[in-house]
């Protein structure tokens, strides 16, 4: 029994059917962690991208090294670091928030590169032409660069959303009851690991296929020539 829901171990199919509602509870936590991690990552990534693009080396260099550092160290270790070290400095967060923060921190490094690539994909000629027409730098950014960069950035961010979803099970180590952890607990208590773990695999497969199809749809349907912002 978990979350007040009993299961029936008559045979594997009945068992699978009876634990499905429990797993869906875990799935909801997985999706929540994914979305929160994504939002944190997208925001932090934007900050990192901005810092890296600063002309002043004393700012852009540390930002670059930090991005590399975040990208080259395992999520698991970053999570442990945040989970055990933050409280020592007086910042006690609930496990779920720490987990989402760790996901966001790890992916901010990847996402900052997405922003950079998206912005750099706008040819310099356009910026020069706009400057020749005496458009202010702020307006060049908001009216010329941003509308064209956004359709290139969004699908790439979408791919990272799918990746984040696949990394959520790592959060089970800090006892967050996401999908995989729920399945493990069911396995521990029913002595049957095969059914819950296989179901988790199937649920993940469905989720990623749907999400990937969504990203592909976005990629095909976003206006390639730019989104008019006003």
């Amino acid at each position: 029994m978990l979350f007040g829901i009993e299961w029936n171990t008559a045979n594997d199919w009945v068992f699978a059917w009876s634990i499905l509602p429990i797993l869906l509870r875990g799935l909801i936590v997985t999706i929540e962690a994914t979305l929160l991690g994504f939002v944190v990552g997208a925001a932090l990534g934007l900050v990192l991208a901005a810092l890296k693009s600063v002309r002043f080396r004393l700012i852009s260099w540390p930002a670059r090294v930090f991005t590399e550092f975040l990208r080259d160290t395992p999520l698991l270790v970053q999570l442990f670091f945040l989970y055990y070290v933050l409280p020592e400095y007086g910042l006690v967060l609930p496990a779920f928030l720490t987990g989402a923060l760790a996901l966001g921190v790890q992916y901010s490094a990847y996402m900052s590169e997405v922003y950079r690539a998206g912005l750099e994909s706008i040819t310099r000629g356009q910026v020069e032409a706009a400057r020749a027409l005496d458009i202010s730098p702020l307006r060049i950014f908001t009216v010329v660069i941003l509308p064209q960069a956004i359709p290139r950035i969004i699908p790439a961010l979408g791919n990272y959303l799918v990746s984040i979803m696949k990394d959520v099970p790592v959060l089970s180590v800090v006892s967050i009851l996401e999908l995989l952890n729920v399945a493990r607990i069911i396995g521990d208590r029913s002595f049957n690991y095969m059914v819950p773990l296989t179901l988790v695999g199937v649920l993940y497969l469905i989720l990623t296929l749907v999400a990937s199809a969504g990203v592909r749809y976005l990629d095909e349907h976003l206006p390639k020539r730019g989104i008019p912002l006003h």
């Binding site: 270790v77 696949k166 995989l180 773990l197 296929l209």
Partner: protein, 223 residues
């Protein structure tokens, strides 16, 4: 705190991590070619099997795969009357390499498809067999194109090895967890741990860059 006393157990763990990363990257490379070439194969069963493997291992989480191989496979084996209990090292290596192999397969496929079609036609005109076309024309030209993506996957794989500590393999992350439990010095141990992974990744990236330039010479020039 006495950081030097941490180094001995951490170094032992690092050695396990390095070996695990090496084996799983090599095995993963083999899986990449197997699934990648299988996907382009003319025979339908071969193609479908490759697609299924790629989708399953790309579409699910690595940790789920790891747990499935370690916890669920023995149960399945029992039902089939086989002993499929894998030691943690084998389960870890297998999960890591299948996962990296599924991602690598798409790299291999993309690079093979990028070889100009005229090359196939020329080879066919010279009476090369399909096998010869694959091994002597397509693959040598495709490998330099694959290298940058493979480098990223290898570094990803090095990071992913940390997950095997969750099935009780004594790798770097596992040893660090032990040291932390013993000393209660979270800040010191985890800072050191992050820096060690970072250092290993930098060394690996450097080695891969050397390999990239070496393999880059295979690139066909000026036709």
């Amino acid at each position: 705190m006495d950081w030097l006393s941490y180094l001995n157990p951490l170094m032992q763990g690092a050695w396990v991590t390095i070996r695990l990363a090496l084996y799983s990257t090599l095995l993963g490379g083999m899986f990449s070619f197997l699934f990648g070439i299988g996907r382009l194969s003319g025979s339908a069963p071969c193609r479908w099997a490759s697609i299924a493997m790629i989708e399953i291992f790309r579409g699910t989480s690595l940790l789920v795969q790891l747990f499935w191989l370690f916890f669920a496979l023995p149960v399945l084996g029992q039902a089939l009357g086989l002993d499929l209990r894998l030691p943690p090292v084998v389960a870890g290596t297998l999960a890591l390499s299948l996962n990296i192999g599924a991602y690598g397969a798409e790299v291999v496929r993309g690079a093979l498809q990028a070889v100009p079609h005229s090359q196939h036609e020329a080879a066919k005109a010279l009476d090369f067999t399909p096998r010869q076309i694959l091994w002597r024309i397509s693959i040598p030209q495709a490998v330099p194109e694959m290298m940058p993506s493979f480098s990223n996957l290898a570094i990803q794989n090095l990071k992913d090895t940390a997950l095997v500590s969750l099935i009780g393999l004594g790798d770097l992350a596992f040893q660090a967890e032990r040291v932390r439990n013993f000393t209660q010095d979270s800040v010191g141990v985890y800072t050191l741990l992050l820096l060690m992974y970072f250092g290993m990744a930098l060394v690996l990236a450097g080695l891969l860059r050397l390999m990239e330039t070496r393999v880059g010479r295979w690139r066909a020039r000026g036709i």
